[in-house]
């Protein structure tokens, strides 16, 4: 058979229209991210892994800062041979991204030479550089924590006059804002300093395993490499610790399902020494381990456990009940370590020759070396730092709201970061001239329009990809970070044709077979709807949802690979999970009965 059918492609960017009535909101995004000339010739895909919901104007700073830093690391710092950076475009609040491959063999050769001088140095000095990285990251966090709360006094404080400071408070609004923004951009450089190299070393081992054992499950390779004591497990471990302490101190009766955190805390404060002791323990856990947000850190409304204790407190009654039932809730470190050692040794034994075993040893050694960064960086970057950043912006929101720029501090997130600077300058000027700021007459109508646009955009599906389908995807960054391959694109294209099939396929992330009621959770605010035994169906699962994992029977997501943290947490909890289905949230109805087979990566609609 030699049929030459034109491959069915995705819609072209130019055919994707801004939803009627939202044109002005779309125009608020900078010109640099609007689809335009030349974009129809390129392949784009919707980055629903990081940005699964329409993005407000301010939150777009994350795309800008992250792609600035990612591209710099790939293109200029480590000089990845076959790929430069990633371009991004925004339409209807959705972020589309496209890789920038290097195809000229001469360029690849030149870049390979550079890459080996740079990346190999990093691999060789990984522990030292990563140790240094943690220091840099903590210093950056301390810097951000030290930034003053923006405020404008009626009169400059007298001590400033006596000190002869000479610079008035309004200047420090701009200074603090610019330093806040600068810190965020800098953080993203730290984020990508090691990331691609880390994923690349992991994928090297992964690809070897897939070749040596063509039928090995992705999750098994992930288990051979994943750390047992990674930062990502810590928040949940702290929660378990707090549950144990509550039982030890005899205050466990204060924790009941459905009682708000502040009421629990008030009753603990009122119950004497044991209650106070537990609250001290809580404070110890919160700094820093509750600096984890309930999403992936890319949306201002993904608040941290510290900002909103309802998530961790929702998990405590369940853990306490398990303790009372005789479980210890201790993660059996030594047993897990031993299991991992065993797994590695047994696959090693199955290899065909000593030569292969020697290559296996080399690759897994490197994978183990880099993996603590791959697993650990998220806590410092996407969680801890990002929380500080959005909370600082919130303080500017509160200040502007108090000067009538808009009704609510949260409204600040409907301004782009460029617009926010102009609003701050507006306020600085008004404070200095004594006139009224112009913002209150300017922003409220725009904000109302943008808020409505986001609600409208969320009601519309957006294509998973745009433009011509490439023959192969040879961009290691895209394969590594998004798990997108030519095969997954074919699955997406097929999903459009075979809507009637009762099976949805994804990556087998954590084995086991379970049937139950699907809860389609489209945003993190909805997780309260999950009942014990439900099957969580979401766009992207997140490890900070760990307390929810003790309640659910299985997890299904649109995006994610078997090495995603969601998959790791699911395995930790022994829950079946299928990730990277592409279409689960659109094809599964809320309340529908489904069967999840996590060992085979199949969700069946019943």
């Amino acid at each position: 058979m030699n049929r030459q059918e034109a491959p069915k492609g995705f819609p072209l960017p130019s055919s994707l229209k801004v939803i009627a009535g939202t044109e002005r909101a779309q125009a608020a995004y900078p010109y640099t991210v609007q689809f335009g000339k030349g974009d129809d010739e390129r392949f784009w895909f919707y980055n629903s892994m990081h940005f699964p919901e329409p993005m407000s104007c301010f939150d777009m700073v994350t795309a800008e800062a992250a792609y600035c830093a990612l591209g710099a690391a790939n293109t200029r710092v480590h000089c990845l041979p076959t790929t430069l950076g990633i371009d991004h475009r925004i339409i209807n609040g959705r972020v589309y991204i496209g890789g920038n491959a290097v195809t000229d063999p001469q360029q690849i050769a030149r870049r390979t030479e550079e890459f080996q001088k740079r990346a190999f140095y990093y691999y060789e000095n990984w522990e030292r550089l990563y140790g240094q990285w943690k220091g840099k990251m903590l210093a950056l966090i301390r810097e951000a924590e030290a930034l003053p709360k923006p405020a404008l006094p009626e009169f400059e404080p007298l001590e400033h006059v006596h000190q002869g400071r000479g610079i008035a408070s309004n200047h420090y609004l701009l200074d603090t804002y610019q330093r806040t923004l600068e810190g965020y951009f800098r953080m993203w450089h730290h984020h990508f300093e090691f990331l691609l190299l880390g994923y690349g070393a992991y994928l090297t081992f992964f690809a070897f395993c897939k070749k040596a054992f063509p039928e090995i499950a992705d999750q098994t390779v992930a288990r051979m490499v994943a750390g047992i004591e990674a930062e990502i497990f810590r928040p949940d471990e702290e929660l378990r610790r707090l549950a144990r302490r509550a039982v030890d101190l005899g205050v466990d009766g204060k924790f009941t399902d459905g009682v708000p955190a502040e009421i629990v805390i008030r009753s603990l404060e009122a119950c004497g020494a044991p209650g106070k002791e537990w609250l001290k323990e809580l404070a110890a856990s919160r700094d820093p381990w509750f600096n984890i947000n309930v999403g992936d850190g890319f949306y201002h409304y993904h608040r941290s456990w510290n900002d909103d204790l309802s998530m961790p407190f929702a998990g405590l009654p369940g853990y306490i009940a398990r303790l009372r039932a005789g479980e210890t809730l201790e993660r059996p470190f030594e047993k897990l370590q031993e299991e991992r050692r065993q797994l590695i040794a047994e696959y090693r034994e199955l290899l065909g020759s000593e030569e292969e075993r020697a290559a296996y040893d080399q690759m897994i050694t490197l994978a183990h070396r880099v993996f603590p960064y791959v697993e650990g960086h998220k806590f410092y970057c996407e969680h801890w730092y990002t929380n500080l950043f959005f909370n600082k912006i919130r303080e500017f929101g509160a200040l502007l709201a108090s000067h009538g720029f808009f009704a609510d501090a949260e409204d600040v997130f409907h301004l782009t970061h460029y617009e926010l600077e102009s609003a701050i300058v507006d306020l600085m000027n008004a404070w200095s001239t004594g006139s009224a700021p112009r913002g209150p007459a300017h922003w409220p109508a725009l904000i109302a329009e943008r808020r409505a646009a986001i609600e409208e955009w969320a009601r519309h599906e957006t294509p998973p990809a745009l433009g011509p389908v490439p023959d192969v995807i040879d961009d290691p960054a895209i394969v590594m970070l998004w798990g997108i391959t030519r095969e997954s694109l074919d699955t997406w294209l097929k999903a459009g044709e075979e809507g009637a099939s009762s099976e949805i396929r994804g990556f087998a992330a954590s084995s086991g077979v379970v049937e139950g009621t699907a809860r389609v959770v489209k945003s993190v605010e909805e997780i309260g709807r999950l009942q014990a035994g439900d099957i969580l169906v979401c766009q992207v699962t997140n490890p900070t949802w760990a307390p929810i994992f003790q309640k659910i029977a299985a997890a299904v997501s649109d995006i994610g690979g078997s090495m995603s943290h969601a998959a790791i947490v699911a395995r930790e909890f022994g829950l079946p999970a299928v990730v990277g289905t592409g279409t689960a949230t659109s094809r599964i109805r809320d309340g529908q009965r489904v069967r999840v087979d996590g060992g085979r990566g199949i969700v069946t609609l019943l």
Binding site: T112, G200, L203, F213, P214, I216
Partner: protein, 346 residues
């Protein structure tokens, strides 16, 4: 006892005397793997039997003089030899030892037995020769057993076997056959398993195929078995193909096997539970470890006890005979491995 060995007393090293099947069953038994109990009539019994026949008229010399291309002569000679072997009485000592072993195996009650030829060259790597000899199932009593033992011996002189040997000019002096006599397993479910993927050669998975009833329906290809793929190491079940199993083999009242329809509610039901799959995985790993190479195993799940018994295990030959390039070689600088990811397609 010079003509009989029990499984417990032999291993692979005894193959010249107990044949491939007998040696393998002894080896499995010795490794602590459950097999249906039984004994082996050693090649010495065959030699003794043949010597008695040769005393009257030569057998081996006559076979050796045959021209493999002369099919007519081969057919006529083979028919005559088989008929002589099938009708000759057993030497008294051999007959006595079989009688006493049979009594020990069956005890006071009658027991169905399998009588399986166990050639000294069978089950070796030359798979084409394997399977040319006969196996008789659900053999009911001593007389029948003895008759089937004779039939097994006689099967050495089938047209196919003789032609095979003549074409390769194998010396007849070396041709001998042992016979395995073991209790039949009334299997609820039976089938085969491979400790290496038949499709990809992956050594880290176990493929299990099974169907209701006796394994002969699976081995003979009369039913499409259920099929599972398990990770050898983790036990994760990655493939579950449950087929429509219309028929099963069952023991016939009069001896032998009959084909019966499978009850409607069982046809599309998996014939093994996850727990049973894991038990099989454990056994497969032990056998493979014991032999040090991938195995091709026949198993049966006994109806009454639910116990898994192995009927056969032999080395996998298809993938093992391929000389595959190593997946990767160690690198002088281990970091060069990452170029397989970062270096682009070559």
């Amino acid at each position: 006892m010079s003509y009989i060995s029990w499984f417990a007393d032999v291993g692979l090293a005894d193959r010249p005397h107990v044949g491939g099947k007998g040696g393998s069953l002894g080896e499995l038994h010795g490794a602590g793997i459950a097999v249906p109990p039984g004994f082996i009539i050693r090649t010495s019994a065959f030699e003794r039997f043949l010597a008695a026949i040769e005393a009257e008229c030569p057998v081996r010399a006559q076979i050796e003089s045959l021209d493999a291309e002369d099919l007519c002569a081969v057919t006529a000679c083979c028919a005559a030899m088989r008929s002589r072997l099938e009708q000759a009485p057993l030497p008294a000592e051999v007959q006595r030892e079989i009688e006493s072993a049979h009594a020990e195996l069956c005890g006071s009650h009658s027991r169905a037995l399998a009588v399986r030829s166990s050639a000294t060259s069978e089950d070796a790597a030359d798979a084409s020769f394997a399977g040319l000899q006969d196996t008789y199932l659900w053999v009911q009593d001593l007389d029948q057993t003895v008759q089937k033992v004779r039939s097994c011996w006689a099967s050495l002189y089938s047209v196919e076997s003789v032609t095979y040997r003549r074409k390769r000019k194998l010396p007849e002096q070396a041709v001998a056959m042992a016979v395995v006599v073991q209790t039949m397993v009334d299997a609820r479910t039976a089938g085969v398993m491979f400790t290496r993927s038949p499709t990809t050669g992956d050594r880290s998975v176990i493929t299990i195929e099974g169907a209701w009833g006796l394994g002969s329906a699976v081995v003979g290809g009369e039913v499409t078995p259920d099929r599972w793929v398990l990770s050898k190491v983790t036990g994760d079940i990655t493939v579950r193909d449950i087929s429509d199993k219309a028929i099963r083999h069952a023991p016939a009242v009069s001896g032998g096997i009959e084909t019966r329809p499978v009850e409607e509610e069982l046809r599309r039901a998996p014939c093994l539970s996850d727990e049973q799959l894991q038990t099989l995985r454990g056994i497969a790993r032990r056998v493979e470890r014991h032999y040090g190479c991938p195995q091709d195993i026949e198993w049966a799940l006994e109806r009454a006890s639910g116990e898994v018994l192995l009927l056969q295990s032999r080395p996998e030959t298809v993938w093992s005979s391929r000389q595959a390039e190593p997946v990767a070689r160690p690198a002088g600088n281990p970091l060069n491995h990452v170029m397989s990811i970062f270096g682009g397609r070559r």
